[in-house]
Symmetry: C3
Subunit: 317 residues, 3 copies
């Protein structure tokens, strides 16, 4: 099976079947990174360009490692050191890159919708590695994989997403993803960080984090952008931490077998206490490991050929 689409731009676009296909494929690729020889020849001769308009070592490194473990060639372009500063339009950048015949462009950009525009400009695959406050689909997929591994299913689970919902592409992609898979999602945060109308995405909304945590199966804490404090979305870091941060006291409101996610990098003592981040319920590092597997699956499902598909099915890879 392959994804019957050229691009992976957001979770909003994907069907439940597509989500399940990506998650099951990722689960099967996860084992590759545990081998002595962490590499399959599946995407040999494919070219992946990582086009990052915002710095993000973690995400870029994860995509780069995923590409290399699939035997693809990875080329990194970070835009601060790029000809794009010369004022070239996105369309021209896109079509010029396409003319070098990449198979996939992975793009991170501060403006919502950039990957979609890019995808319209080029014939090759485009993967959204985070666009503004819009979507970060590979992050949501790795979150879903992490929960599914632990809980067996996503259907019927209660998921609480806590923090700056308004500015979070991670929250948005996860709301789409988990609700499609049958989970019940509640978002919580300071009123200034809860965007109007977010409940239309199918989630519950509350500014009372203790309500959100009550009886929940999964807690996803979002990163507070410390540099946004001056915009006064919240009074002080200490105040934010006291009211909205996850510590062992608040954790008691959740189910006994709750699991805790965070997209990283964490601000210890701000949105999450060190005891909780490093405690037995935290799956923060599993998320990172699953990130590589999810990205291998995305590359495979977008770029793999029929021939390779047969080899995979025949267990030859």
């Amino acid at each position: 099976m392959r994804l019957k689409r050229k691009d992976l731009l957001g979770i909003e676009d994907l069907t439940r079947d597509e989500l399940e296909l990506i998650l099951s494929t990722a689960a099967s690729f996860k084992e590759v990174s545990e081998r002595e020889i962490k590499k399959v020849p599946t995407l040999r001769g494919k070219t992946v360009i990582n086009l990052f308009y915002e710095p993000s070592t973690r995400t870029r490194t994860s995509f780069e490692i995923a590409a290399k473990r699939m035997s693809a060639d990875a080329v990194n372009i970070s835009v601060s050191t790029s000809s794009v500063v010369k004022g070239e339009t996105l369309r021209d950048t896109a079509r010029n890159l396409e003319a070098m015949r990449p198979d996939c462009i992975v793009v991170r950009h501060a403006s919502s919708g950039t990957p979609h525009m890019l995808a319209g400009f080029v014939g090759c695959s485009v993967v959204n590695a985070g666009d503004g406050a819009h979507e970060h689909p590979s992050q949501a997929l790795l979150d879903m994989l992490t929960v599914k591994e632990k809980k067996g299913t996503l259907a019927g689970l209660k998921i609480a997403i806590v923090g700056d919902i308004a500015h979070s592409r991670v929250a948005r992609s996860n709301i789409y993803g988990f609700t499609k898979m049958g989970s019940e999602v509640t978002v919580a945060g300071p009123p200034t960080m809860l965007p109007a109308g977010i409940e239309k995405l199918g989630c519950k909304v509350t500014s009372n984090v203790e309500d959100a945590l009550k009886g929940t199966d999964v807690i996803m804490m979002l990163r507070i952008q410390m540099e946004r404090q001056s915009e006064s979305f919240f009074p002080t870091v200490r105040e934010y931490s006291r009211v909205y941060g996850l510590d062992e006291t608040k954790l008691k409101r959740a189910k006994d077998d709750v699991i805790i996610l965070h997209p990283g990098p964490i601000n210890r003592g701000v949105e999450i206490s060190s005891e909780v981040a490093d405690g037995p319920y935290s799956l923060i590092l599993d998320q990172v490991t699953n990130g590589v597997a999810v990205r291998m699956a995305i590359f495979y499902l977008l770029l793999g050929t029929a021939k390779e598909e047969q080899q995979i099915q025949a267990g030859k890879v």
Copy 2:
């Protein structure tokens, strides 16, 4: 066949036979980038260092992709983040890199002649990826390949190169290249951008762009460095565009089957109108595609071994 030279430093040095060898080799490698598996094992175990003292995402990416499609290992060094800032001389940098046994150093530098100096310091191959206002040979080769593909031959063609001739390594390399191949080259631009004595390279010179375009087979528009405006080489961007920019009106002076080139990135509405850049005569994106093929050919012709040559001739690659 191989190039019987260690380095590719400029078009000025090359014979017509050498130009033809590179162009025909590039034409044969072009197909590799259109395959499902865009990779040949030809240069496996070779090391290519991209040493860029000026940022240039496009050119660096093109060389990097070309190296990887030939199965060479590519190592990028961009000098802003480099120990070269510690004040090391070019000679010491060169000899230190050489001591790591690369097979080829691709160098971009703001000073004319740097690649030639570098080539004198090292035993490995050196490829000039642009030096000051001097030469940019791989650009001229991809331009020639693009014209040859469309016109069948370069002999007898009329070529107009329009813009800031004085500061353009692209113009200079193309004047050398096209005149050697039997084309008739005319350069045009504001008098302040026409260097004294440029006609000694074998081209005609005019400050009347409409004269230059009259009956021409190929128009090559050069990029205006917007940041140079303060140096008052031209009064205003609007004025430059009106007099020297290529639009559909001026285009009518050329032959009916004219083709249009631009080294990119383009300034839309400055040296070229969007209608023309995106119109049916523009081969700007073909140039980018041909850039990868030309650079694969350059690596092959400089680094390939006799054994690999036989395999190529036997059709085994």
Copy 3:
């Protein structure tokens, strides 16, 4: 044989047997870089992350080339463009990288002890590529290899290390290494650059460089950090050069078959004259070549598997 340790953090930790194992393995890998196809499949499917918190083109390039010649995948992270600036702790960075399942993290950091902390946080191998003024073990190993190649043995040799001993990780690693191998090490420099108690590492100390050079087999000149001059460790560059710089006059005090090392990049005319740096006793470029071989050996001895070991022993690689 493999190193029976997870990490290579410093020469201080290594036994003489371990030093000899690394040196003999490096000597055997040196030949790979002289082949037409400079690559062995030994570490295919291994992932090496170069995590550089200080820029160092030379060292990063050497590790990257070494990894690629062993067929490992190399991923570069330079921290100025990194999420680490977001305030993540070293422990979190380390454990997040580890979660992507690299086989080795090569780390350069301005603070002494960072590689050791990192090694404690992760299960994969860690290689110290220079930590503050503490150690730079791969540099000392390439220095030892260079001397051993020329002199046949290190035992009984007189080694003079001259310059800013106090701030030099290169000096420290070399003092440990050469004394373990039975050499007699003397360090020399201005009194302000000789750290109290350095003789406890087993070397002699003098502020009289001419004494240090007398009858010596090996001279290792250290780089003067020109930017430190304002801290007034020495009065003027000219004065430093006159008293402590190596020129042909001072060189006469050494043995007739003396060899000269420098970790690079050299300040010509400051700590070493051009005549001496480029003269017949200088092995500065051999050091760079040996650097790649030493790093290939380090990767092999830390990451190679039993199966690969057998192949090496059977001469099949």
